[in-house]
Structures are given as C-alpha cells and as structure tokens.
Amino acid sequence: MKIILNNKEEELAGDTLTISELLKVKNFTFKMLVIKVNKQLIRKNEYDSVLIHDGDDVMVLHLISGG
C-alpha cells in the first residue's frame, strides 16, 4: 500500500498496518510521539487497534523539550 507519511509518499508492504507496526517498520522509537491519521489524533492506547490503509495521510511528530 501507499500512504503519505509526514508529507512524503511511502510504499509499505501489506494492505493494512497498525500504528504500532508502522512505528516498528519505520523505526520510530521515541517516547513522546504525536500521531495523526487523516487529521485524527490517535491516542497511545489505540496504537495496536487503529489500522492504516492505502491512501491514508499519516503524521508522526516527535515532541522534544526546548522552548
């Protein structure tokens, strides 16, 4: 499937992927993550249940300290 990940087109194996699987595949290992799928904010307890499909727009933001 093809998705938009952080504004870039990304080709991934399979038809669907959970958020947890996507994070593993893309090696996002940070603690403080913000994930949006098609503009919807996904909570941590939904990472194993929310599925990403072909054509989805996914944003992964790593919140880091400083300001």
Partner: protein
C-alpha cells in the same frame, strides 16, 4: 497590504501565548511590534539570570514574574497592545478557559510533556483554533534544518530533532529563529497568504 492596512486587521486579533520563555517572550515581542491587538500570556516562572541567553528579558528584571516583566517590555515597544497575564502553571482546563477567545494559540513551553498536553487540549476542546508549536531548536548552526510544516490547524516550527541537553543548550539565535517563525505563521493565519511575496 501596506503596514497601515496590516495593523488595522491585527488590531482586532487576539493571540494566546502558552509559556513565556525563549519562544514565548520573543514571539510576543514580534507580534507586539507588528501591532497585534491583544496578547494573552501565561507562565508561572520568574526571570532568572540563565534565561538571558535567549529570552526577551533584561538583567534588572531578574526575580520578576516572567509575565509581568514581559508585559512591561511589550508596553515599551507598543503601548497600544492589550496584555492579559496569567501567572499559573497551565493545566488542560486552564488552557481551554483562558485561550478560548484567542484567534490563534502559540505553544511555547519547554517540556515535551507540556507540548503534548496543549496539543491534546486544543485538538479535543478547541478544535477550531490554530495551534502553532515550536519543536526542536537547541544548539547552534545548521540554519537549513529549521523549517515548518502544517497538518490541518496544527503548525510545527523547528528542526524537530534537537532537544535541549547539557551539551546542546538553547541559545538566542536558533530559539529566536523558531520564535519568529511561530510569529510569522501567526501572521499568515491572521492575514492570509501574502500575494505580493515572491514564492520561488
């Protein structure tokens, strides 16, 4: 638009600034200079000597509440700006209450946990508001790593990688760049895209 036309629009606008450290104090100063109508400032902290390497305060303000010192400094730039201050450690319900009348909210906290908290609060309770966040600005150099991106009403400014650490401290130049990028994003939201600008 001429500056007079710009000021006429901005005079009617309110911007909330969550945190008055390096990002918040410098962003507020830029917005006061261009004639924003009202700023709502929130921070619980006092000005400390260690803040002066990047934050918009002066040596003789050490020990003052940041929101009071910033209000003073903003009036010295533009006496017409209206300023509301809240010297509190913001929680979700405060954010929803004090920023509900803002046209735009600027996230200017230092801690990642607080950044998450405001994003969660605005996304769930103030979904019609734009939130302009600052993420990643520690250290020096690498100008071109600093950028911004948007997802719906969320705008992220910063390099998204450089967290503060003992060996990677926040310093005036990069913090100031991100603070001004946030102010610039606020203007684009309030004034619309500048049609007279050259976009390469």
């Amino acid at each position: 638009m001429t500056f007079e036309e710009i000021k006429k629009i901005l005079k009617t606008k309110t911007v909330g600034i969550a945190g008055c450290g390096g990002l918040g104090s410098n962003c507020a100063a830029a917005l006061a200079r261009v004639g924003i109508g009202r700023l709502i400032l929130a921070d619980f902290d006092l000005v400390q000597e260690g803040n002066l390497n990047r934050q918009f305060y002066f040596y003789d303000q050490i020990g003052m509440l940041k929101v009071s010192a910033l209000k003073q400094n903003l009036f010295r730039i533009n006496p017409e700006v209206r300023v509301n201050t809240f010297d509190i450690r913001l929680c979700q319900s405060d954010i929803i209450e004090i920023f509900s009348k803002c046209d735009v909210i600027v996230e200017a906290f230092d801690k990642a946990e607080m950044k998450y908290m405001i994003l969660d609060a605005v996304h769930n309770h103030l979904p019609d508001k734009h939130l302009v966040m600052g993420v990643g600005m520690a250290g020096w150099g690498d100008n071109n790593l600093i950028r911004s991106r948007q997802s719906d009403k969320l705008i992220i400014c910063g390099d998204e990688v450089n967290a503060i650490a003992d060996e990677n401290p926040p310093l005036a130049p990069r913090v100031g760049i991100v603070a001004h990028m946030q102010a610039n994003a606020v203007l684009e939201i309030l004034l619309g895209v500048n049609e007279h600008q050259i976009h390469s």
